[in-house]
């Protein structure tokens, strides 16, 4: 058992989620045997398909029973199980410091990322961490070792949010630099234009990565419930805005609706595993829903 000393990880949550497994929705190409499907045919017990014998195939793999029935040569193939690479991409822009009841979006992302990293490591998958922020940028490529997990968790515990977001750049870089198929988990408030997000996700999809997005939002951001003019200071360092929420509240809601509608379209078009979350929700429920949603449907 890995000794956990990180306060953002909750032992009870880990125990509750220990019965669930992290599945990739797409076949993975791993370096070792694992619990995930591979596009390469392997020697597992799970039948994959029959295919005609072609010269050069190993005659030992001929299915003689089929030959006896049909007088034709067929090769019987089985699924290959492999491990996956999980890349946790955490947005560390200043806006992730937005706090609700003492818990910021970054804290929330930290908890989800840490728990997922632990679950993935437990089932033998490689875990990597990418911090996407102009003020705080960090890369830990995915590896399988317990020591590596410790480094990831330590990094999660110490990372800070500041400056403008560098999420788009990090996503494009990740798409280019992660050589094999991987599970890309994005934790961000995604306060960037939906079309920019679309480009990033399409790039990742082109590289055949499995993408999961945790879109973190805070309740007050959604409602703008203030009864007097306020001076809104940009947490990412932009110009402050003086506005009266009683005057622009309706327009704010309208802008938010347009953004979320656009975001819905983007995630549906790019077929990513998208979860829009209020950070006042229990993160273990969110994770349970996420893990259960990814469990493959078995057809008997």
């Amino acid at each position: 058992m890995l000794q956990l000393k990180r306060d953002y990880l909750d032992q009870k949550v880990l125990e509750r989620l220990s019965t669930l497994q992290l599945h990739a929705r797409l076949p993975m190409i791993g370096s070792v045997s694992g619990k995930h499907r591979s596009p390469i045919r392997g020697s597992s017990l799970e039948f994959a398909e029959y295919r005609k014998y072609v010269p050069g195939d190993d005659p030992r793999r001929l299915d003689w029973r089929t030959y006896a029935r049909n007088d034709r040569y067929y090769i019987k193939e089985f699924e290959a199980d492999t491990n996956l690479r999980m890349c946790l991409i955490v947005d560390t822009s200043g806006s992730m410091n937005f706090t609700y009841n003492g818990m910021s979006k970054l804290d929330y992302a930290r908890r989800i990322a840490g728990t997922l990293a632990y679950i993935a490591a437990q089932q033998g998958d490689a875990v990597g961490l990418y911090c996407a922020g102009t003020g705080f940028h960090k890369e830990i490529p995915p590896k399988r070792s317990a020591k590596h997990l410790s480094a990831v968790l330590d990094e999660l515990g110490t990372m800070e949010a500041s400056g403008e977001t560098g999420l788009a750049n990090v996503l494009h870089e990740t798409a280019e630099r992660v050589p094999q198929r991987a599970l890309i988990v994005i934790l961000s408030d995604l306060f960037i234009e939906p079309e920019v997000v679309r480009n990033c996700l399409e790039h990742l999809r082109f590289r055949k990565h499995d993408i999961a997005v945790f879109h973190l939002l805070e309740q007050s951001e959604l409602e703008l419930e203030f009864d007097r003019p306020m001076r809104f200071v940009d947490m990412e360092g932009g110009e402050p805005i003086l506005a009266d929420p009683t005057v622009i509240g309706t327009q704010y809601q309208r802008a938010l609706e347009i953004y979320l509608e656009s975001m819905n379209t983007v995630v549906q078009d790019t077929e990513v595993d998208y979860h829009r979350i209020r950070i006042n929700e229990n993160y273990d429920d969110v994770l349970a829903r996420f893990l259960l949603g990814r469990t493959p449907k078995r057809h008997f």
Binding site: R25, K105, R228, I248, T250, Y252, Q253, I277
Partner: protein, 680 residues
């Protein structure tokens, strides 16, 4: 717009207070770190126009509310004319009050005359505002300047009461000018209250030009004309044109010519067959009343030669003619007095027999056979024999007298009699009435002096009643004696020398005629008409002073000829001594009677068009305020209620605009369970 508390307007800069608070609040907003800036920026872009407009309106409403509050405190007054004089207050206020009889036209519902309504409005206005350190009244009847303590006192002064006089508006303005020049006042408001009667304003007078020029030199003088030019809907005036006492055998009677004039604007425009109506005229003589009904047409009615029998023992007395009440009560009663006609006595002082005879012939031919005429021709050395008391006209055709005789003549004129001086052949340097004879003049090549100009509107050479001019252009003068005089020429020769001149005197009349009636000097006697008219008119004028009973037009000096005049009628109205002669009535001094009435012009004068009145004030600071006599509203009323309502409205609008806008959520805010993609 004026203000009762103008000092409160000093606080007007406080309207900038909401703007200042707004600017301060710009720096006092609560600061909050915010992540979702992209939505805020979008929202601000979307609401930019409306939000700005809303903010501007809120600010405007707050400014308006503060401004309205300050105006409420400063107690604004309505009245567009006040706006023209700005905010400064006058140092003095002059009130020129037209007290003429026509100003007594009343609004029958309100029961107020034009004069009283004007005074009341003015007093109310001045009471509300500031009239300066001096409030001066110039009334048309007395023409005197009177310092008034307060505007309210105007209503109780004897000098603001009704009178039967006519007004002289140019004269009143001249008095105002004299006051302003003497006192060197700064900012002065001159209020003129008048009904714009033609006679009172005399718009054709040359005095207006001088008045305009003199007022133009004064700075800070503002004229306000309170014009009551509306005509009454129905008004009749009565006047006795002639009254004679005749005896027929053992009976005596009064013969009166009565004229009723209509000033109505209503029924006279109806067709003829519907306009005739009968109405009563009441006569009162020696406390005996009688009523006669007359038929009234568009112009009015006249009753010629109406006879009223009287006691033969009643040698003199008084009476009155009355009409039923209408818009102007002052012209509904006319007083008259009667007496036996006096002997019309003239004295001709001349050493020239021919000329003396010419004078005698012209003076002894009576206009009316019922009059007795007596002419005495005496030489200069018998002047002491003249009975000055019983003489009405003195013809002096001799060298100008001096010493006691000159004094006697001056006294003679001062008692209302008439003197005509004709030239004599004697050369002397004596001067009388600021006039003296010069040399005889004979025509040159043209053989005769013609008359180039004469005054036909008034005095001895006035046109006859039919309107025809006297035939002065046919007069031939062969010699005349020029004279130096300060008097007013009534007729001029071709060479601009004067034929007839009237010298200004307080009473009576003094004329200088530069030629003689005989054929050697002129065609006066041969032509006859002009000579006869001149002498008969002079005799008539001079003999009025001889009559025991006389009819006079009301004015301040009408009773100045005797000291013991006592009011006989009306009994219920006893004016102050200073106001005697200004009111219609009958006065008696022993055997002498006089009836004082309004001038005949007051019965017929129309109103001057307002445009013509406006033109009189060209180049002066002037504002006309047209008022109807029935208009009981104040000239200026306080407007604070309007501003108070404006303030409340502004605050309500501001409150509504400041309410948080209701957010319309047509669709669920967001769907937080969206899950995109699917597992393969």
């Amino acid at each position: 717009m004026g203000f009762l508390q103008p000092l409160a307007l000093i606080a007007l800069p406080l309207i900038g207070l909401p703007i200042l608070i707004h600017l301060i609040n710009q720096h006092r907003h609560r600061t909050i770190p915010w992540a979702a800036m992209m939505f805020l920026m979008s929202a601000k872009r979307m609401s930019k126009g409306m939000a700005r407009l809303r903010h501007f309106l809120i600010l405007l409403m707050r400014v308006l509310a503060v401004a309205a509050l300050i105006f409420v405190v400063s107690r604004p007054l309505s009245g567009g004319w006040l706006g023209s004089i700005g905010m400064s207050k006058p140092d003095a206020t002059l009130i020129l009050l037209d007290r003429s009889a026509s100003m007594e036209i009343q609004d029958l519902q309100a029961g107020q005359s034009k004069r009283f309504a004007a005074l009341q409005k003015l007093a109310q206005l001045l009471e509300q505002g500031d009239y300066g350190t001096h409030l001066v009244l110039i009334d048309s009847a007395s023409g005197q300047l009177q310092e008034v303590d307060s505007p309210k006192a105007l209503l109780g002064l004897p000098t603001t009461e009704s009178s039967a006089t006519s007004a002289d508006i140019p004269g009143m303005l001249e008095s105002a000018l004299a006051y302003l020049k003497a006192n060197k006042s700064g900012r002065v408001d001159v209020w003129i209250c008048s009904d714009l009667s033609e006679n009172d304003w005399d718009v054709e007078s040359g005095r207006w030009q001088a008045i305009r020029e003199e007022f133009a030199q004064l700075e800070g003088v503002h004229h306000f004309l309170l014009a009551y030019a509306d005509l009454p809907s129905d008004n009749l005036s009565v006047r006795v044109e002639n009254v004679q006492r005749w005896e027929r055998g053992n009976d005596a009677e009064l013969v009166l010519d009565v004229v009723v004039r209509s000033k109505s604007t209503g029924w006279v425009t109806q067709p003829v067959h519907t306009t005739r109506k009968r109405f009563p005229i009441e006569f009162e003589v020696n406390n005996v009343r009688s009523v006669v009904e007359v038929e009234l047409d568009r112009q009015g009615a006249s009753l010629q030669g109406h006879r009223i029998p009287i006691d033969t023992k009643l040698r003199s007395g008084w009476g009155s003619v009355g009409l039923p009440g209408d818009a102007n009560p002052l012209d509904n009663r006319f007083f008259f007095v009667f007496s036996e006609p006096p002997v019309r006595r003239a004295v001709v002082v001349s050493d020239d027999v021919k000329n003396g005879e010419a004078f005698r012939r012209a003076l002894t031919i009576p206009i009316d056979p019922r009059f007795q005429h007596q002419v005495d021709i005496i030489s200069v050395d018998r002047v002491a024999e003249i009975d000055w008391k019983s003489t009405g006209l003195l013809i002096w055709q001799a060298a100008l007298p001096r010493g006691s005789v000159a004094d006697q003549i001056a006294q003679f004129v001062d008692t209302g009699r008439v003197v005509i001086f004709f030239p004599s052949s004697q050369n002397a340097d004596e001067q009388l009435f600021a006039s003296r004879w010069e040399d005889w003049q004979t025509p040159g090549s043209q053989q005769v002096f013609g008359i180039s100009w004469w005054r036909g509107d008034t005095d001895l050479l006035a046109h006859v009643e039919s309107g025809d001019a006297l035939p002065l252009n046919e007069l031939r003068t062969y010699r005349y004696r020029s004279f130096e005089s300060t008097g007013t020429p009534l007729a001029r020769f071709d060479d601009d020398a004067s034929l007839l001149t009237r010298v200004a005197t307080d009473h009576g009349a003094v004329y200088f005629c530069s030629t003689l009636p005989t054929a050697q000097f002129s065609s006066f006697e041969r032509e006859g008409v002009i000579f006869y008219v001149i002498l008969q008119r002079a005799l008539d004028q001079g003999c009025r002073a001889l009559a025991v009973a006389s009819q006079r037009d009301a004015n301040l000096d009408v009773l100045a000829d005797r000291n013991e005049w006592e009011l006989v009628a009306p009994e219920d109205n006893s004016p102050l001594l200073s106001q005697s002669g200004l009111h219609a009535g009958v006065y008696r001094d022993g055997a002498y009677w006089t009836a004082v009435n309004r001038s005949h012009i007051e019965d017929s004068a129309a109103a001057v068009p307002v445009e013509a009145v406006d033109a009189l004030f060209d180049g002066m600071s002037y504002r006309r305020i047209d008022v109807d006599v029935g208009d009981t509203s104040a000239l200026a009323s306080e407007l604070w209620r309007i501003f108070l309502i404006a303030m409340i409205v502004a605050l309500l609008v501001e409150a509504v605009l400041s309410l948080p806008s209701r957010r319309v959520r047509t669709t669920p805010l967001i769907d937080l369970t969206v899950s995109g993609g699917s597992a393969e």
